[in-house]
């Protein structure tokens, strides 16, 4: 991991297109501003990791599972 020290108002550039600015640093809480191209997604890490895990869990169910759900999935009031 590259470690840099910044003060409020200073920035870090990642590649040519991503700029992270320390807007405010107060004790434990740091406010960051992020500029990035619109197709670069920016998320809190824990949110991203949770979504990554959920997608991986959901990915490519077996044919048996798909067949069962195709047969049995019903709107709530019919369950």
């Amino acid at each position: 991991m590259l470690v840099l020290t910044r003060r409020a108002g200073e920035s870090v550039m990642i590649g040519d297109d991503v700029v992270i600015t320390v807007l405010e640093a107060r004790g434990d809480v740091i406010r960051l501003g992020i500029q990035a191209p619109k197709d670069v997604r920016v998320h809190r890490e824990e949110v991203y990791r949770e979504l990554q895990a959920a997608n991986r869990e959901a990915a490519s169910p077996t044919d048996e599972v798909v067949e069962e759900l195709t047969r049995t999935l019903r709107p709530p009031e019919e369950q």
Binding site: D39, H43, A53, E57, D63, E77
Partner: protein, 143 residues
């Protein structure tokens, strides 16, 4: 828009053979290599679809429309996502929820719906962070 032949699978014999390609403006977290997908209806009622990668058809997700499972689900799409989708009108958008079949129940991801612009066929998985939407909302329980 490009069209493509669907990969035939035994379960999906009723599929039409030419399916327009959906382009992910940003890839789904966990699957950076997959940008082109097809949406395949799996059951007659239109309750279950496969969101299948055209870059590698071994990858597919099961998705459902929110209605009738989550009737009050009206996510607000953030501006960054609307920009990725080409600034669609609300009526141009359809929403699909990724579902996971667990041992005891099937769950839908309400926190990160797949939003598709039906006009330009761009899509993205919108992350509704900062809301209290669950990543796993029970859709149905197994008997």
């Amino acid at each position: 828009m490009s069209s493509t032949q669907a990969v035939s699978r035994p379960l999906e014999e009723q599929m039409i053979t030419t399916i327009p390609t959906i382009h992910l403006a940003a890839p789904m977290p966990g699957f950076p290599a997959h940008r082109r997908f097809a949406l395949v209806r799996l059951n007659e009622e239109g309750l279950l679809y496969a969101f299948t990668s055209l870059d590698n058809p071994e990858l597919r997700f099961l998705v459902v429309p929110p209605d009738p499972f989550f009737e009050n689900y009206t996510p607000e799409i953030p501006d960054e996502s609307l920009a990725l989708l080409g600034y669609p009108d609300a009526e141009d958008l359809i929403t699909m929820l990724v579902i996971t079949a667990g041992r005891d129940a099937t769950a839908a991801n309400l926190m990160a719906p797949i939003v598709i612009n039906t006009v330009n066929r761009m899509a993205c998985q919108v992350v509704l962070a900062g809301t209290d939407m669950p990543v796993r909302a029970i859709l149905s329980k197994k008997e």
